[in-house]
């Protein structure tokens, strides 16, 4: 009889842990400008290699190079810079508010600002995002009122969600921002359904679905890719690969696949992989996918490669599971710094103007926060009513809920 060695279980692990030196030496980054730009009606078969590469526009010298360059005018670029900086300032303020006990919880998108901001700028009014909790940039780039966002964070009397939802779980139909669910992944397939509806009705609106690297493991991720593959609706399937899912490194979600973009190939979906810290690349690729969807050529799957610089949330301490300085070793840099440098190279921006804008934005955020706080903070000052709890469970309150509300005395 043949002898077989005992089997053993493989469990993937990151190459470094707290105490080790950060190591991205195995992380291959193609040169800016090296990935081709196909036509929007390209078939999946013709661009399979793009799922293994990384589309980049900005090179080390801050120049925009290659076939994906030249899409963005000065005005758009300057606006984008502003939105990214505003997002970062907003995050800093809200993070601090959480520390000060003004709310229960907060989640930053530090280091990932380019993705949501540039993508939103490529969409049109009427399109609908199905976001996760780390796409506040979508709202800011849509110029959604800051005070309204903050009131949601504070769960105060100005909260349009009536205090029902945890902080950061925004919802705004008008700003094309679908209600965030705390359950990971669920919105991904809903976006596909929304896009199917748009196609069924002969509309021209498109949906954009968002998910994190960790949550690609969810069942709804699979359902979304499957239904998108079958019915080819106008949907963009975004994966924000920020390398971490709370304490879990991306290897537990990718398994043996090299990239997340390749997962889409198994469904015959067009897949692209993009430098998510490169504002110009995000914008150019988003525009491409938007046009593709709107011309009825179907879904595009996009892996945005980035890094979660901050903690997972205000409840998390990343020093427990990754080297403290890993974010500074991240080879793709900071999206704001990179766009700033590019704009200086373009000759439309300067260090001084940058400092000035930063100060301006901090004032704007501070003023907004003050106004928001005048409507209360969590547990302090004006608050949403307890009645809120019983309303909107159904369109009309059924007898049993009326009884319960009366029992509660509200």
């Amino acid at each position: 009889m043949t002898y077989y060695k005992p089997l053993s279980l493989y469990v993937p692990e990151p190459s470094v842990r707290p105490g080790d030196k950060p190591d991205f030496s195995k992380f291959a980054i193609p040169k800016a400008g090296s990935v081709r730009r196909p036509e929007i009606d390209v078939s999946e078969e013709e661009i399979r290699d793009l799922a293994y590469g990384i589309i980049r526009v900005l090179n080390r010298d801050g120049e925009a190079v290659g076939p994906w360059a030249g899409v963005m005018d000065d005005e758009t670029a300057l606006k984008g810079l502003r939105y990214m900086m505003k997002t970062r300032a907003y995050d800093a303020r809200m993070q601090k508010a959480q520390r000060q006990g003004k709310t229960s919880f907060y989640m930053q998108c530090l280091g990932e600002e380019a993705i949501a901001v540039a993508h939103q700028m490529a969409l049109s009014p009427g399109d609908m995002n199905f976001p996760t909790y780390r796409q506040q940039g979508l709202l800011i780039a849509r110029e959604h009122p800051l005070v309204e966002m903050m009131c949601q964070i504070y769960s105060n009397s100005g909260d349009v969600l009536g205090g029902r939802q945890m902080p950061v779980m925004y919802s705004s139909r008008d700003s094309g921002f679908f209600s965030i669910s705390g359950n990971l992944g669920t919105q991904y397939v809903q976006a596909v359904g929304w896009a199917m509806a748009s196609a069924i009705k002969g509309d021209t609106k498109i949906a954009s679905a968002w998910i994190g690297d960790g949550a690609t493991a969810s069942n709804d991720f699979h359902s979304a890719l499957l239904y998108a593959s079958v019915y080819r609706p106008p949907v963009i399937l975004n994966v924000v690969n920020n390398q971490w899912a709370i304490s879990t490194f991306q290897g537990i979600a990718t398994g043996q696949s090299v990239t997340f973009a390749t997962r889409a190939l198994g469904y015959g979906l067009n897949a692209l992989r993009v430098d998510g810290n490169d504002f110009l690349a995000v914008y150019a690729v988003s525009k491409w996918a938007v046009e593709r969807a709107r011309r009825n050529f179907g879904p595009t799957f996009i892996e945005w490669v980035t890094y979660r610089v901050g903690a997972h949330s205000s409840s998390d301490d990343p020093s427990k599971y990754r080297p403290l300085d890993e974010s500074s070793a991240w080879p793709m840099g900071d999206p704001i710094e990179r766009l700033k440098n590019h704009l200086i190279v373009r000759g439309v921006w300067s260090d001084d103007r940058h400092v000035q804008l930063d100060a301006e934005l901090h004032d704007e955020i501070r003023d907004a926060a003050k106004e928001a706080e005048s409507h209360g903070t969590l547990g302090q000052g004006p608050a949403p009513s307890a009645k809120e709890m019983f309303e909107d469970v159904f369109k009309e309150m059924p007898p049993h809920l009326r009884r319960q509300r009366q029992q509660m005395g509200v």
Partner: protein, 337 residues
Amino acid sequence: MARMNMIEAIRDAMDVKLGQDDDVVVFGEDVGYFGGVFRCTDGLQRKYGKSRVFDTPINESGIVGVAVGMGAYGLRPIAEVQFADYVYPAYDQIVSEAARLRHRSHGQFTSPITIRMPCGGGIFGGQTHSQTPEALFTHVAGLKTVLPSNPYDAKGLLIASIEDDDPVIFFEPKRLYNGPFDGHHDRPVTPWSKHALGDVPEGHYVVPLGEAAIRREGSDVTVLAYGTMVFVAQAAAAETGIDAEIIDLRTLLPLDLDRIEASVKKTGRCLIVHEATFTSGYGAELSALVQETCFYHLEAPIERVTGWDTPYPHAQEWDYFPGPARVGAGLKRVMEA
């Protein structure tokens, strides 16, 4: 007015709504070209086209997930789950998403969706084609749960469900598709064409959600039943000679508690019957509510006659099913207590 069985009535409800409202779409496994394994959507694709009536992959969470997205867009999707036993993969999309979307978005987004599914035993379907998991939905805030017992109600309730702006779980007791089966599995079933409730008006009408129907007036004991058990209870009442007032709940949530309360206060006794497992079944909620509202009128303990706390067996399905003998014995216990 036409004679219809329950399949035809359900199909007709969808036909009426597909015809009236462009926002109505119908989909699920095998519902398109083929018309559904129980034929409930037969002919609808031909009539309304592939983009309004279509087949889906075998992925129930996806079926409900896309329905939620379509609902948020503004459509009124009707999703079929092939058997209630296969709804569990979709459970998260139903309870975490469809049920809570209106609330969590403060009414910005809603889920006006209807999820149809055949339920109940009696066709030798074993543990995976026989369940009636209504209690798993009545516990979830934000869902309505409907379970008709006859063609007239099925059509009227289904139209009401489709028109409802909140998510509705619509159970179809498959053993009743062809006739008012009363649990006597060894006897032929009368077809709906010979039953008054097989008279189904043409066109649009609704049976409002939340209104129970009294199927038999009586003074001895109130029987709370729904679906197949309505006819089992009628058989049991006839066979025992007990003058039972039989209430067909039709909608489990919202519940017509007023009608229940009035009846139990009149009879002073109550028997609850359902096919699902006993523990934490919907009968528990009914029992608790009746006790809470009618305590001082009760002359005997409220009893529950239900399926046993076991998986639904294949060979022993008539031992599991709470047929007329067991319901009759329950009636007697309640009367003699």
